[in-house]
Symmetry: C2
Subunit: 661 residues, 2 copies
Amino acid sequence: MKQADCILCNAFVLTMDDAYHAYPRGAVALSGPTIAAVGEEAELRREWQAAEVVDCGGRVLMPGLVNAHTHVPMTLLRGLTDDRRLDVWLLGYMMPVEREFVSPDFCRLGTLLACAEMIRGGVTCFADMYYFEDAVAAATAEAGMRAVCSQTVLKLPAPDAASYEDSLAEARDFISRWKDHTLITPSVAPHAPYTCTPEILQACAALAVEFDVPLHTHLAETAQEVDEWRTEHGMPVIPWVKKQGLFEAKVLAAHCVHVDEGEINTLKHFSAGVAHCPSSNLKLASGFAPVVSMLEAGLNVGVGTDGPASNNDLDMFEELRLTTFIAKAISRDPTALPARDTLALGTRLGARALHIGDRIGSVEPGKRADLILLDLEGVHSWPPFERDADSIYSRVIYSAKSTDVTDVMVDGRWLMRNSELQTIQLGPLLEAAGEYARSIDRFLLAREGSVLSKLIAIGGAEQEESYEVQLKVHIDDASAVLRALESGSVQVTRKAHYHEYDTYFSFGGSEPERLRHREDEFIDPSGNVFNVRYRLTLTGPAKEGEYPNSVLLSRSRFIAPAKHSLRFYREYFKPTAESEVTKDRLRWLISYQGEEFYVNIDRVTQPVLPGFYIEIKARTWSRRDAEAKAALITELLATLGLQGAAPVTQEYAELTAPGQE
Amino acid sequence: MKQADCILCNAFVLTMDDAYHAYPRGAVALSGPTIAAVGEEAELRREWQAAEVVDCGGRVLMPGLVNAHTHVPMTLLRGLTDDRRLDVWLLGYMMPVEREFVSPDFCRLGTLLACAEMIRGGVTCFADMYYFEDAVAAATAEAGMRAVCSQTVLKLPAPDAASYEDSLAEARDFISRWKDHTLITPSVAPHAPYTCTPEILQACAALAVEFDVPLHTHLAETAQEVDEWRTEHGMPVIPWVKKQGLFEAKVLAAHCVHVDEGEINTLKHFSAGVAHCPSSNLKLASGFAPVVSMLEAGLNVGVGTDGPASNNDLDMFEELRLTTFIAKAISRDPTALPARDTLALGTRLGARALHIGDRIGSVEPGKRADLILLDLEGVHSWPPFERDADSIYSRVIYSAKSTDVTDVMVDGRWLMRNSELQTIQLGPLLEAAGEYARSIDRFLLAREGSVLSKLIAIGGAEQEESYEVQLKVHIDDASAVLRALESGSVQVTRKAHYHEYDTYFSFGGSEPERLRHREDEFIDPSGNVFNVRYRLTLTGPAKEGEYPNSVLLSRSRFIAPAKHSLRFYREYFKPTAESEVTKDRLRWLISYQGEEFYVNIDRVTQPVLPGFYIEIKARTWSRRDAEAKAALITELLATLGLQGAAPVTQEYAELTAPGQE
């Protein structure tokens, strides 16, 4: 007789292996954290003995479910706001609240709550992407769950990093610390093509390759993303990230809603895993992912809940049912994605999508013991038909609920027994979560009347680069500068002439933010207006001061097209003060030492100010890049013959006509 | 102080009235089965007192959910077969099993199981449509639930009626018996346009109007149904049923997946209720109903689970979440159908769709006390945000589960307290259901190799009229009949000439069914073949014998186009015997005394038989109609000068060449 540590018997075993072996009276032998044997109970017990024999009471024993994409700390933001436009939801609520509240403590608490919910619902492994991923990994390991934990990198300032360079460094540290952990597979997560630069994608891919860990990202989630990529880059998202070398790494791509046959083949060619997130895609109206085509192409497609703020739960039973429902409806074929295959997405294929299919995803000798027991005797899954071997899968997918999971084991350790959590004490966690919710409510009530949220509410706003380098000087005569610009000493990319009519709204209050309504009349060489543009720009307070010869600012800056009249905006935003500046502007986009700068020659006509103001400006997502540009500005100033000019530190809205001060 | 029987206090009351009044610390006063008052607890208790005060523990108190369309006894067929084409599912499995097993006992058991599942999931009222509806109503009343119970009427033989006349009579009896019941609203259910005749629809509408009860039906469920209606009737389904006078009654129309703006307006004009069934529509790949447009038009749209054989459960929380998810995805607008409005579909609007919105659907004084308590403190619905008054609806719709319902009251009576059912003892019911499942499995295993299921499996089959009236005679010379037909003594609608090549497969076994492969070469007046048609006809054993001068048969008869070769069918069906009959046929469709008949003049060429066979035939769904036609056949025989001809009772497959007997 062979010796195991434990034998689980009297179970309907669904192995979910490639051949879908199932044993209606089955048993599983465990050696420590590993599955030693699986088969018919009578047969297995002739060969194996163990000190501990667990009677599974005729329940279904199957691999734990794999949640292929989520953001677990967002349990604390569940239901924060719903039924919103994506930009309002993300820019108006999620990101401001995250910037204010997300901390290692927040992530630890949110992760433990998520683990409790997922264990209850039969999930044994998940792929996470968030900030302070070290705290997420630690809490997950504490709860005893398995996860691919991915440290987010993006060009915007994040709760855990002021710049992407910081988050890249943090990702490297994080991966080094966790790379040999039994339960945690560390990973790097360049957030998405539209929140990353090509450099970020390249650096993340290199990091993932260096440590041989997965790279987790969002790809082709919305039609807008794909449309923008086609317009701006002449290709959809998948070939573009391929061009950035992303697929050198073992990619786990969440969503892939808007991908065509060619892109599916590319994903397959590079063995990328896909995380299909149907609830999120429907709730945020992103669309229907072509899951049937992906499976036909042989892709490893898993199913994910996405974060609990956009779902709003972590229920993989719901997610799997939705997966097959949507597949059938979209293909107009009720035989599409039958129950058995759907369960494979939640187990074996999900594990492969996470690039850990060699260790989990099925009940097979040699794999880790990540198992669940499911009670199918509830009135909602009754009666059982046994004529057809697929009936059992049909009951699991079409009628069982997450609340039918009674027992959960990860790596040979019970995390739930008879519906009782073994590793997490919920009471204090729920209390702490309630505290967070009350604080967040207070925070959002306090910013009631926030200009940004009002701006977003009426038409969307796009966040601009967070670092601004600028230098402004005053001169009496602009002819020398003009000559310098035209002389070829700098390379001119573009040139424009316009009349700019700016109206500044300010709001008093604690945040010195300013909303500018700007109307630009573009002037052709004969002096006629040939185009007009209206836009709004909201600037927050600048976070940093002056550098030698220039100013380096870090501040939030949102732009939006202005579709309404100035009167509309005045009534809508109710500014406490208002000022007007009009100017005649000559504007050059130039390239200097390989870097891009804008040069403006402005004559201020209202209030009437003497002379000219010269502005040299650049914006970037990278702090390091900003510093490099600040250094170049001194040189550029000399090149344009402006080294002696008087620097001006006030912004235009702060300038007043002579004699008015 | 006013006196109530019971006060429910310490509840977050969602009234779901038209103004969506909600009381975070609310209370409800009950007088017997009726709601006496609702409001802020402190205020209400200053005005009301009661012997019994129930502490709701801070749970959500809201109207019970209304399941607007289902077939409750089909709990016993849940998971019988899944992931099948609709025709295979319906014709190959559901209908044969229903014909064999559905009885008052089956319906009573299935209904009690369904009630147990729905009470657990917070449903207090449902709209049912099935057979033996008297048993459904009795079991529902026994369980203490509220329902609109609809007796099915259709042209096909049903488990509870050999003909539609029988089911109409049963519907009338049923409605008379139940029309004054507190909990049960009886109703009549013409099954669907494609399973009814215009006469059935008209008779059902008249019956519903006579008793002022709702009329429950399936409308525009599949694209195929609508396409067929456009082709055959030159209009879609809604205007066609309007033409039949269906909307004279208070209609509850299930599905309405494929309806356009005009049809939505028609439904609104006649105050029809709609039952939207998203799980069923997705799982059977029927499509996406335009719920947002229906609501914009002001329609009363409820949400239904449909029968548990096509869902596979009765979980209204899942159904409501799916309703808003699909609405958002289809309209590409994440703000579509917000949580609060979605919950209205499951309560107030659902009640109105069932035409009982005056009595239930909201927590308002004067309405019946159909209430549920919902525990939102589970980890999956935590934490609570309270800044926004809509957050509570978001938690109910996006994160709560049916298993969070703890208490259910219908008509002032508790049906569940602290998650314990009060009126249903589940144990014996589950056991009896298991017995049914085993019997059904045995039945289906025994019919393995059924010709019908094999026919359906490869390409669908359409059931033809069940009653056949036919008379066949043999004559030596056909010229007199030919003259009679051409003389104008009968009115000829259509005439055709073809060579018919029939191959009959028979299968031995207990069921003397016969499958005919038929190839018709259509002959033009110059004797050339101008068209060929291939089809299969499967006939079951005839159930009735001869009438004077004619034969009245009742038997199942399925036709299907034959897309494959005869060789294919021979190999696929493996007949135990095969015979061939070819004939030259002249065929007339004639009208006699306002009734339609086919007259065939056949010369049998293989086996070579002398003389001519004359067939007079008609088919109908109505037994009464069949009898009337049988009587006319004697007259017709005389009109065609055939009164003395020798009657032939054998079918063509049974005729043999002279000397071969």
